[in-house]
């Protein structure tokens, strides 16, 4: 069952590439942003996978209990803030998409490009 210890990383690799595929292969701008958010989640998964220690618990120290094993708090801090920053930047992306829709009447990449060439 040695391979089970790598399963998280494999899921990271697959989800990461599914995200990338959506960004490069889909023409709809909202779909691209959804792909970006999947891509981002995969990176979060990688970091949080690295924090786990066998037999460990969440890094909250209990008074009077010694010999506790804690998982690594540092990746958690990094990802905690990254999630909130991620939603803010995603909102900025959505706002740009809304403005593109108002300017071009479409959020499909090929239609926007066709309009640009026509001008």
């Amino acid at each position: 069952m040695e391979w089970l210890g790598l399963y998280n990383y494999w899921v990271f690799a697959i989800v990461l590439m599914l995200g990338i595929y959506t960004v490069i292969a889909k023409g709809n701008l909202i779909k691209k942003l959804l792909g970006l958010s999947i891509f981002q989640s995969a990176v979060f998964l990688l970091y949080i996978t690295m924090d786990k220690v066998d037999g460990g618990t969440a890094p909250i120290i209990e008074a009077g209990v010694s010999n506790q094993v804690f998982s690594n708090p540092l990746p958690q801090v990094l990802i905690l803030t990254a999630i909130v920053v991620g939603i803010s930047t995603m909102a900025l992306g959505l706002a740009i998409v809304v403005r593109i829709k108002e300017a071009y009447g479409s959020i499909e990449e090929h239609e926007i490009q066709a309009k640009d060439e026509y001008r």
Binding site: A13, K26, M50, L74, Q76, T81, V84, M90, V98, E108
Partner: protein, 326 residues
């Protein structure tokens, strides 16, 4: 047992991601993203990251879904793709195979000898009880040891919210018109069950948000999670009762003051450290006892973070909601 559960959740995660990509109805895709985030939050929880799981559940499954739906209302929910670009799957599969091949050199999940556990992390775990004396090490690192990072991230959130306001305009701007479609302004008022259940839930979500804010030093939680939770409660109110009543409860001027005020509070706490003879964001000098000073400093900056995050998320929501459908 836990391992099997984890494998099950991760497999579901991949299936959900594939479903998001395959569907051409963006409405379905956004709802699946909510499920994706919830699964991700469960995985984080199993991996001992309680704080991160709380954040992902509040932000990913809650607010992110609402923002995407708000954008869909303005752009339409049908994906019309003439260019499938299926051949792009080939390099993507090759890259995925390469990453999977590379993982065979990775330390196994939970290996205590992994390099990531050898560097500064043990120092944080050892020194937190002595220097800061709060149980939650994640909050100690976030607020004190790496306070600079957190300050920067708060300003990234603030900048993004300002960017959304500039792109979409606020209600004060010319983009807003008094004539709005009835369905948008009245929310779900005519739906009895969501309205009754929502009204029952909102006070408890706000209460839980406040608990998470002020108990974040002792249990999972802190400013980022609390800000997202309180914002989610107010957004739920706006969805149920319509935007007008929500803006009566928390007006745009209050939201703007929250956005700027929280970040300002954070910077002022940092500057207070300099004035009192320490370094920027050194809380030990705030009170005569260094450990109490750390407690006070972390409490104040977490409050600043919570207020800014809540204000920013609300302003982003209102920017999308106030935009007229062209």
């Amino acid at each position: 047992m836990m391992v099997l559960f984890s494998v099950f959740l991760l497999t579901l995660l991949v299936i959900t991601a594939i479903a998001i990509i395959r569907t051409t109805d963006l409405f379905v895709a956004v709802m699946l993203t909510g499920i994706f985030s919830l699964l991700m939050a469960s995985v984080f929880f199993i991996l001992d990251a309680a704080d991160v799981a709380l954040t992902e559940a509040a932000v990913g499954a809650g607010i992110s879904t609402v923002l995407f739906l708000g954008a869909l209302a303005l752009t339409g929910h049908n994906e019309r793709s003439l260019r499938p670009g299926r051949w792009l799957a080939v390099p993507v599969v090759v890259a995925a195979a390469l990453i999977v091949y590379a993982t065979f050199d990775n330390p196994r999940l939970g290996d205590p000898e992994a390099p990531v556990h050898q560097h500064v992390a043990p120092w944080y775990l050892e020194q937190t009880p002595e220097l800061i004396d709060i149980p939650n090490v994640v909050t100690a690192i976030l607020g004190s040891f790496r306070g600079y990072d957190t300050l920067g991230e708060v300003f990234v959130v603030l900048t993004a919210a300002i960017g959304v306001m500039m792109l979409l305009g606020t209600r004060h701007g010319s983009a807003a018109s008094p004539v709005r479609p009835a369905s948008a302004s009245n929310g779900l008022r005519h739906h009895l069950i969501p309205r009754v259940l929502g009204r029952l839930l909102i006070p408890f979500i706000v209460l839980f948000g406040l608990y998470v804010q002020f108990h974040g030093e002792y249990g999972p939680g802190g400013g980022f999670q609390a800000g997202a939770l309180v914002a989610a409660a107010i957004i739920l109110y706006a969805l149920l009762e319509g935007e007008g009543p929500a803006l009566t409860v928390v007006p745009l001027s209050t939201i703007a003051a929250m956005m700027a005020g929280g970040a300002l509070l954070y910077v002022l706490v940092g500057l207070a450290g300099i004035v009192l003879g320490g370094n920027f964001l050194d809380y030990s000098v705030l009170l005569s006892n260094p450990v109490s000073g750390q407690h006070l400093g972390i409490l104040l900056i977490e409050l600043g973070v919570g207020v800014t995050v809540c204000g920013c998320l609300l302003s982003i929501f209102h920017a999308f909601a106030a935009r007229d459908i062209h």
